[in-house]
C-alpha cells in the first residue's frame, strides 16, 4: 500500500508529525518507565517482603525460641495492616508449623518453598503471588523459618496507576503537542506556505514583481525565501534584458529585411513572420501562409528547384541555402535567398524546416553586372591576367590560357615567371615591375611570352599596371593585358619587306628608266649605223654585238622595270588555264628533260584582271627558278584553282582581303629554302646561284607583276623539302565570269558518312568537329591500317574517304587504293601538305585539298565531290542500259 504523503499540506504534515513524535516519545518514555518500574517493583516487592519477613522473624524470634505461638500469632496479626500479605507462616527449626497468619481465612498453601542450604532467604513469583521464605536466625542459630506470601496486587496496582498516569499525561500532552505544533508549524509553515502561494501566483500570472515578505529569521526557510526573492529579481532583470534583446532583434530584422519562416512537415503548411511580406511585395497581413500560395509566388522556373532543395534537405538532414526568384503582385521579379534548417521535436522526429529569407535582388543585379564584365574579359582575345605580389597568377582569362598554352584549371597559382623566357622575365621583374611599383604608372611595351607546351616565344604587346585598393590605395596586385602581336609582327615584317622591295624597286626603276633612255640611244644609233652600213662592212659585226647587247640590256631593264611595277600593262580578263596551256610547250623546253612537269588545272577556273603577258612572265620565271632548284632533276607542278579566302585565312596576310581568288601554284621538289633565303627571295639581284648564273631578277620580276596585279604571293619551303610559290589573283567581280562557280560558300551540310584518316590528332579532331557539326557522320582513324579496319567493320556504307597523304603504318595513297577496291567509284579527298602530291607516283586524277584549309573550303570540296558522285549515279541511273 503506497502512502502518498504528498497529498497533504505542510500544516497537516507538521501537525501529524508533531503529534506522532510527541505521542511516540511519551508512549516510549512511559512504557520504558513502566517497564522499569515493573522490573524494579518486583525487586522492591521482594525487598519489602524480605524486610517484612525480617521484622516478623525478629519479632517472633523469642516466640519461636520459647515456643509461644500465641505471641507469634499476635505479632503476625499485626500484618493485617499490610493488605498485600496473603499469609505468613512460621515454622520451627524442624519445619513444623509454629504460627500462621492468613489474610483470607481458610486459605493456606500447603507446600511452601524450602530454603536451600546456605541461603538465608529465597523467594519465588508464582500464580499471582510472591512467596518468600526467610530463615529465622536468633543469635546465630537457625531457629525456624518464616514463610511469607504476598499477592501481586501491588504490581497490578502500580501498573494501573502508572498506566493511568501515562494515559493522563498523554491526554494532557498530546493536545499540548497539538497546540505547540499549531504554533510551531504556523511559524515554520507560514513562510513555506507564503512561498508556495507566491510561486503559484508567479507561475499562473507570470508576474515576477511579487516578493515573499522576509520573516526576519535566519533559518533555512528564510534563506530559501531570500533565494527565491533574488531569483525573481534575476528573472525580472533577465526578462528586461530579453525584451531588450528581442526588440533589438526585431529592429535588426526589420532594418535588415530578413524574414523568418517555417515549413511544417506534418501538413506542409508554410508560415512566415511579418518581415516575410515585404520580401514578396505583399502588404503585411496579406495571405501568404500556405504551401500553394507560397509556391505561386515563386518564379515558375525555380519552383521545382526550391521544392527539390527543401525535400532533399529534409532527407539528408542538412541545412540548405537556395536562391530563387519570386514574382511580386505588381509583376516585378526579385531574387531572394532562403536558408533553412531541420528542426526536431523531443522524440528526435523531424517536425519542420525553419529558416530565414532575405532579398538579394540588388546583389543579383550586381552579380549580373559583374558577370557581364567578366564575360567581356573572358570574351576578349587579349590576354587578361592578374598577378599577386608574390608572383603567382591569381586570374587569367581564357584567351590568356590559350595564348600561352596554360590549362585553365592549373592556371591559378602558377608562377607568372613561367610564362616568360628567362631573359624576358628578368627584365620584367628587374626593371618594369619595380618601375610600376614606384608609381610610374602602367607600362606598355613589347614583351615576349613563352608557350608552355612548345616553348616557342610569343610576341605580345603588354600593358602592365598596378591594382590598388580604392580606399586605402594599397597595392593589391598587378594586372596585365597583352595582345598577341605575332601576327602584327608578321605583317610588319611583310610590310617592311614590301616597303624594302618597293624602295629597291623605286631605285631600280629610277635607274632603269634612265638606263632605258640611254639604251634607247645606244640601240637606236646602232640601228642607224647598221642601216647605213653595208652588210659586208666589217663594222657590222661589232655594231650588231652592240645592238644585241643593248637589246639584252633593254630586256633586263624591262625586267627591272616590271619588278618596279613601272611597266605598262594591259589589263584584260585572264583565263589562267589558257595562259598555262599557251606556254606549256615553252615551259617543257625551258625546264629540260630532267624535270618532270605536271599540270593540275582546275577546270572551271575563274577569271581575273591582269596582263596575260605578265602572267606568263610569272609562270616562266617561277618555272625557271624551280628548275634551277633541281639541278639533278625533279618534279615541277603547276596548279590552278579557285580559292575562297575567309576571314581566318586572311589573317596574317598583309594586304589580303577575304574573298575569291584564282590561285596559281608552282611547286618543285628542289633543295628548298631556309628562312633567311625565303625572306630575301624577292629582292632584286638576290640569288643563291653562283655568280654569273642568273640575274637575280627573276623572282623580283614576279613580285613586281604580282604587286601590279593587286595579287599576292607566298612562298612555302623548307630546306630539302622543295618549294611552292603560290600566287593569288583576286577574282574578277561576279557577273564577269560565265563559269558557274560558287560565289558564296555553298551549303555544305550533308548527312553522308565520311571516313576520316589523319594521324595528327589535332587536325583530325578539328575536321571531325567541322564535319559532324554540319551533319556528316564521321568514322575516324589515325592511320591507314586503322582506316582499313574501319572500312571493313563500319556498319554503314562510307560515302567519302577524307585522308591525309602522309601517315605512319600506311599512307593515304595505299589507303585510297584499298578503299577504292572496296568502294569503287566512291570519292577520295586527300588532305595534302604543300607538296605532298609531288611525292606520289603517277598522275591519276586525284582530289586534293591543300592544307591549311578553311572549314568552308573543306566542306565545299566535300560537298562538291559528293554531289558529283550523286550526279554520276543519277546519270547511270538515267542512262538506259546498253544493249548490244
Amino acid at each position: 500500500m503506497k502512502f502518498n504523503l504528498g497529498r497533504y499540506s505542510i500544516r497537516k504534515k507538521l501537525t501529524w508529525m508533531n503529534l506522532l513524535v510527541s505521542g511516540a516519545t511519551l508512549l516510549l518514555a512511559s512504557s520504558a518507565y513502566v517497564a522499569y518500574e515493573l522490573a524494579t517493583l518486583r525487586l522492591s516487592m521482594v525487598q519489602n517482603l524480605s524486610i517484612e519477613a525480617q521484622i516478623v522473624s525478629a519479632n517472633c524470634a523469642s516466640a519461636v525460641v520459647f515456643g509461644d505461638p500465641d505471641s507469634a500469632r499476635n505479632t503476625l496479626s499485626a500484618l493485617s495492616a499490610a493488605p498485600h500479605i496473603v499469609s505468613v507462616s512460621i515454622y520451627d527449626a524442624q519445619g513444623a508449623p509454629f504460627a500462621t497468619y492468613s489474610r483470607d481465612p481458610g486459605e493456606i498453601r500447603e507446600t511452601p518453598l524450602t530454603l536451600p542450604e546456605g541461603r538465608p532467604e529465597v523467594h519465588k513469583f508464582a500464580n499471582n503471588s510472591l512467596e518468600l521464605v526467610r530463615a529465622i536466625v536468633f543469635q546465630g542459630k537457625l531457629i525456624g523459618s518464616v514463610h511469607m506470601r504476598s499477592d501481586l496486587t501491588e504490581i497490578s496496582d502500580r501498573l494501573l496507576r502508572y498506566g493511568g498516569i501515562a494515559v493522563v499525561i498523554l491526554l494532557i500532552c498530546l493536545p499540548a503537542a497539538l497546540l505547540f505544533s499549531a504554533i510551531f508549524q504556523r511559524e515554520t509553515a507560514r513562510p513555506l506556505i507564503q512561498l508556495a502561494d507566491v510561486a503559484r501566483v508567479v507561475s499562473r500570472d507570470k508576474e515576477y514583481s511579487v516578493r515573499i515578505p522576509a520573516s526576519g529569521s535566519r533559518d533555512e526557510i528564510a534563506l530559501l525565501i531570500d533565494a527565491f526573492n533574488e531569483m525573481l529579481g534575476q528573472i525580472q532583470i533577465r526578462d528586461a534584458a530579453l525584451l531588450q534583446a528581442h526588440e533589438r532583434l526585431n529592429l535588426a530584422l526589420k532594418s535588415s529585411g530578413v524574414g523568418t519562416w517555417r515549413w511544417e512537415i506534418a501538413d506542409g503548411a508554410i508560415v512566415g513572420d511579418d518581415f516575410m511580406y515585404p520580401l514578396f511585395g505583399l502588404d503585411p497581413g496579406a495571405d501568404l501562409n500556405g504551401y500553394e500560395k507560397f509556391f505561386r509566388m515563386v518564379h515558375p522556373r525555380d519552383r521545382e528547384r526550391v521544392r527539390r532543395t527543401a525535400t532533399e534537405s529534409l532527407r539528408i538532414d542538412a541545412p540548405f541555402e537556395i536562391e530563387f526568384r519570386v514574382i511580386w503582385p505588381n509583376g516585378s521579379v526579385h531574387t531572394l535567398t532562403a536558408r533553412g534548417n531541420m528542426f526536431r521535436d523531443e522524440n528526435n522526429q523531424p517536425v519542420r524546416l525553419t529558416g530565414v529569407c532575405w532579398d538579394v535582388s540588388a546583389r543579383r543585379l550586381a552579380e549580373e553586372e559583374r558577370q557581364k564584365f567578366v564575360s567581356l574579359v573572358e570574351q576578349t582575345d587579349d590576354f587578361v591576367g592578374m598577378m599577386a605580389l608574390d608572383g603567382t597568377i591569381i586570374y587569367i582569362n581564357h584567351a590568356g590560357c590559350r595564348l600561352v598554352g596554360l590549362e585553365a584549371r592549373r592556371a591559378i597559382g602558377t608562377s607568372f615567371a613561367d610564362l616568360h623566357p628567362e631573359d624576358a622575365w628578368s627584365n620584367l621583374s628587374g626593371e618594369i615591375l619595380p618601375s610600376v611599383l614606384r608609381g610610374d604608372g602602367n607600362w606598355v611595351g613589347e614583351a615576349r611570352l613563352r608557350h608552355l607546351a612548345t616553348q616557342q616565344p610569343i610576341n605580345v604587346l603588354m600593358n602592365i599596371f598596378p591594382v590598388n585598393d580604392p580606399e586605402t590605395g594599397q597595392l593589391l596586385c598587378f594586372a596585365a593585358i597583352m595582345r598577341d602581336v605575332t601576327e602584327r609582327k608578321q605583317l610588319e615584317q611583310q610590310l617592311l619587306q614590301s616597303q624594302k622591295l618597293d624602295s629597291i624597286g623605286q631605285l631600280a626603276g629610277g635607274v632603269a628608266h634612265d638606263f632605258n633612255n640611254l639604251l634607247t640611244i645606244i640601240s637606236g644609233y646602232s640601228e642607224l649605223i647598221l642601216g647605213r652600213c653595208d652588210p659586208n662592212d666589217p663594222v657590222v659585226e661589232p655594231v650588231e654585238q652592240i645592238s644585241r647587247a643593248a637589246a639584252r640590256a633593254a630586256a633586263l631593264t624591262r625586267q627591272l622595270l616590271s619588278f618596279a611595277s613601272r611597266q605598262a600593262s594591259e589589263q584584260k580578263d585572264v583565263h589562267l588555264n589558257d595562259v598555262v596551256a599557251n606556254i606549256e610547250k615553252m615551259l617543257r623546253r625551258l625546264i629540260g628533260e630532267d624535270v618532270q612537269l605536271s599540270l593540275s588545272l582546275q577546270p572551271d577556273i575563274g577569271i581575273f584582271r591582269a596582263d596575260p603577258n605578265q602572267v606568263e612572265q610569272i609562270i616562266v620565271n617561277l618555272a625557271i627558278n624551280a628548275r634551277d632548284a633541281m639541278p639533278g632533276g625533279g618534279k615541277l607542278l603547276i596548279e590552278t584553282a579557285n580559292i575562297y579566302i575567309d576571314e581566318e585565312s586572311a589573317q596574317g596576310r598583309l594586304a589580303l582581303e577575304p574573298g575569291h581568288y584564282i590561285m596559281l601554284a608552282v611547286s618543285d621538289t628542289g633543295v628548298g629554302m631556309s628562312p633567311e633565303v625565303k625572306s630575301r627571295i624577292f629582292e632584286p639581284f638576290f640569288t643563291t646561284k653562283e655568280r654569273g648564273k642568273g640575274t637575280g631578277l627573276g623572282l623580283s620580276t614576279v613580285y613586281g607583276i604580282v604587286q601590279q596585279s593587286k595579287a599576292s604571293i607566298t612562298v612555302l619551303s623548307e630546306p630539302g623539302q622543295g618549294a611552292t610559290f603560290r600566287v593569288l589573283f583576286p577574282a574578277a567581280p561576279a557577273g564577269k565570269t560565265g563559269a558557274s562557280e560558287p560565289i558564296a560558300p555553298p551549303p555544305s551540310a550533308g548527312t553522308e558518312t565520311i571516313l576520316l584518316a589523319e594521324d595528327e590528332a589535332g587536325v583530325r579532331g578539328y575536321v571531325r568537329h567541322v564535319l559532324e557539326r554540319n551533319g556528316y557522320r564521321v568514322a575516324e582513324a589515325s592511320n591507314g591500317l586503322e582506316a582499313m579496319d574501319v572500312i571493313h567493320s563500319f556498319p554503314v556504307p562510307i560515302d567519302l574517304l577524307l585522308t591525309d597523304v602522309v601517315m605512319p603504318e600506311c599512307g593515304g595513297v595505299e589507303l585510297a587504293e584499298h578503299f577504292s577496291g572496296v568502294y569503287p567509284g566512291v570519292p577520295v579527298l586527300f588532305m595534302s601538305g604543300y607538296n605532298d602530291r609531288l611525292w606520289m607516283e603517277g598522275d591519276q586524277a586525284v582530289n586534293f585539298i591543300q592544307k591549311p584549309f578553311s572549314s568552308p573550303a573543306l566542306l565545299a570540296r566535300i560537298r562538291e565531290l559528293l554531289d558529283a558522285r550523286l550526279e554520276a549515279g543519277q546519270k547511270t541511273a538515267d542512262t538506259p542500259p546498253q544493249t548490244s
Binding site: S62, F66, T111, E117, F138, Q139, L142
Partner: protein
C-alpha cells in the same frame, strides 16, 4: 506445560526440604534419623530455655557483656534435674562469643561467676539464704520452684500442659541491673513490674 514443571519443582522442593532438615538436624540436635523427631521432655525444653534466656539479657548490670574471652556460665544449684539435657543444650553454644558452660554448684557462694543460676527445687527451703548471698549481683535467677518470682526470683518456669511457660519478675531484674529484652517479656506469661 506447567504441570510437569510444577511437579519438577515439587520434587525439587522435597529434596531441598530434605537437605534443609538434614542441615538443621546436623546443625542443632543430632537426630537418630531425619524422619525421627522425638518430642522433647520438660527438662529438655527448660534446658533449651535456659540456654536461650541469656540471649535476651541486654545488660548484665555492671558485668561486661559476654565475650569470647570468658565463658558464660549457667549454674545449677542444688539437685540437677536436667541430667544430660542441659549439657546437650549448651554444647557448642555461645552467647556473644562466650561459650556456654554448665556448672553445678552446691553453695550459693559459688554462684558469683554465674550469669544464669538455676535453683533446683531441692533448694526451695534455702531461697532466702540464696538470695541473700547473691544479693544484687546481676545473676539471672531461674527456677521452677513455685512462687519463685514472688519469693525473689527473676524467672519462674510454669508448666502449661505440654508447654513450659515462664513468669518474669521484671522489677527484680531491673533491681539487680539486668535489662531484659522486650522480646522475652513478650513471650513471658506474667511479667511482674512492681515488686
Amino acid at each position: 506445560m506447567t504441570a510437569p514443571f510444577r511437579s519438577r519443582r515439587r520434587s525439587a522442593a522435597r529434596r531441598i526440604l530434605l537437605a534443609v532438615l538434614l542441615a538443621i538436624c546436623l546443625h542443632t540436635v543430632p537426630c537418630a534419623s531425619a524422619q525421627d523427631r522425638p518430642h522433647p521432655t520438660e527438662y529438655q525444653i527448660k534446658a533449651q530455655y535456659l540456654t536461650d534466656f541469656g540471649r535476651f539479657v541486654k545488660k548484665w548490670g555492671n558485668r561486661p557483656a559476654p565475650g569470647p574471652d570468658e565463658s558464660f556460665a549457667i549454674c545449677v544449684l542444688g539437685q540437677d534435674p536436667y541430667g544430660q539435657s542441659l549439657d546437650t543444650a549448651v554444647h557448642g553454644e555461645n552467647i556473644g562469643g562466650s561459650p556456654l558452660v554448665v556448672r553445678r554448684i552446691a553453695q550459693p557462694i559459688d554462684a558469683t561467676g554465674c550469669r544464669i543460676l538455676f535453683i533446683s527445687s531441692s533448694e526451695s527451703g534455702q531461697l532466702q539464704d540464696i538470695f541473700g548471698v547473691i544479693g544484687t549481683a546481676p545473676v539471672l535467677t531461674v527456677s521452677d520452684i513455685p512462687d519463685f518470682v514472688r519469693r525473689g526470683g527473676i524467672i519462674e518456669f510454669v508448666p502449661d500442659g505440654n508447654r513450659v511457660k515462664f513468669e518474669i519478675n521484671l522489677a527484680l531484674a531491673q533491681r539487680v541491673g539486668l535489662s531484659l529484652s522486650s522480646d522475652l517479656l513478650k513471650v513471658a506469661r506474667v511479667v511482674r513490674r512492681t515488686p
